[in-house]
Amino acid sequence: MDSGHTAWMLTASALVFFMTPGLALFYGGLVRAKNLVSTIMYSFTAIAVVSIVWVLWGYSLAFGEGNNWVGDFSYLGLRGIDIVPSADAAYPPLLDVVFQMMFAIITPALITGAFVERFKFTTYLIFLVLWVTIVYAPITHWVWGGGWISDLGALDFAGGTVIHINAGIAAVAAALLVGKRRNPGAQSNNVPFVVLGAAILWFGWFGFNAGSALAADYFAVNAFLVTNVAAATAAITWGLVSQIKNGKMGAVGLATGAVAGLVAITPAAGAVGVMGAIAIGFGAGVICFFAVELINARGLDDALDVFAVHGVGGIWGALATGIFTVSALTGVPGVVEGSFDQLIIQAQSVLGTLVYSGIASYVILLVLDKIPGLGLRVSESEEDQGLDLSLHGERAMVEDGAD
């Protein structure tokens, strides 16, 4: 056992945990004030529900031996995973469970951005359980549990496919099925929360990406560096595009750009150096900016642009990994080193994820919509009143006189 690796992985796990509350604030700040509590609740309950699902059967489905497509039930309730590690382990095996749990928590929370301000809370709780089981665990198995994408040799250092493309396409399915808000498009109710949330995401992403080295080694250090550089580049790129187009650079745009950069560097964090990170960040800033425009113009009410940022950003990142990968780091050459092979592999992994997650998420939601007593969408008057008061019986902020 290496206490240094263990120390870093403990820290990284805590950092990734912190991302979901960060996301709660980020998303919460972007919606209308009357849906702030509701938006926070989607993320917060993801922590509560997925943690339990994960230790009971999620981890087993993702990391159990199984086959090429899904794990098995050998680790049900974590039995068979020793608390006391074997002598030659770098760190205790439960630490994998912990670190991966944090990823499983944030992924469905990301999806909620698509359907904020109108999704039924009770149905959402059930959706969480089903989606993690049916969509998240298998795809994790594909990439990290010995499934077909890992066999393919796809590079996905910290989960661009598993987390971001997956959440992004599920968001499209959700936005399609839940339908447009009665009144889409509004100013963010709380810009400081948006920025603080984005900052916590960024902070936690150091654990996400550098932690994915699974050791306190030079991979972790490089991942840390490129993560910061890509996020910074994407943030300022987004800002400058906005400045050129609208004559103004706003904090919401900058924060969104940063997130887009973080998403894009995620699969590449173990594969590129600092120049690759600048390229990936720049690409994320430009591509995701226009993806937001385009998708909004299409009339899909993916309220907080989950697909444009996480889906498109994730796809860009996965492909860019195939473009910019440095063979000194990954052992495989990318397009800039003259080989298109890796790019094609990356594209296959992207496609597989898009197809499976898109269809499976759609079906899950469709079924939930049809089950009597469930359904995806709140009533018109609940939506009008805001979900905070109508579903949760709370107002986000109450001033004195109004007490």
């Binding site: 009357k34 018109e380 008057s381 009008d384 009143q385 805001g386 949760h392 019986g393 107002r395 006189g401």
Partner: protein
Amino acid sequence: MLSIEAIVKPERVNQVSAALLEAGCKGFYYLNVTGQGGQGGVEVLVGRGGTTAGRSAVPKTLIRTVVDDSMETAVVQAILDAARSPGEGEIGDGKIFVSEVKEAIRVRTGETGADAI
């Protein structure tokens, strides 16, 4: 001149203000208030989620415009149309109060009366 004030559901403000402009109002302002009327309040959780309490006060928005006497009917009708919930309307859709304004002055120019509004 008349002051026409409407206390409406917050989610209707955009519609109501558009309706005011269409009806020919030159200006208006709105603000958030907390109100109680026939609606009997909204239920909220107090404490740690242990108990629900019937609360007497609901978030509302007050929107006010000052107009020429001649516009009263048109403006009131515009508000009624825009603020009423779809269907037959709901309790809590709000109230309109009309009162007299003696004088209006535009700060920029010092103009008064009908010219100022």
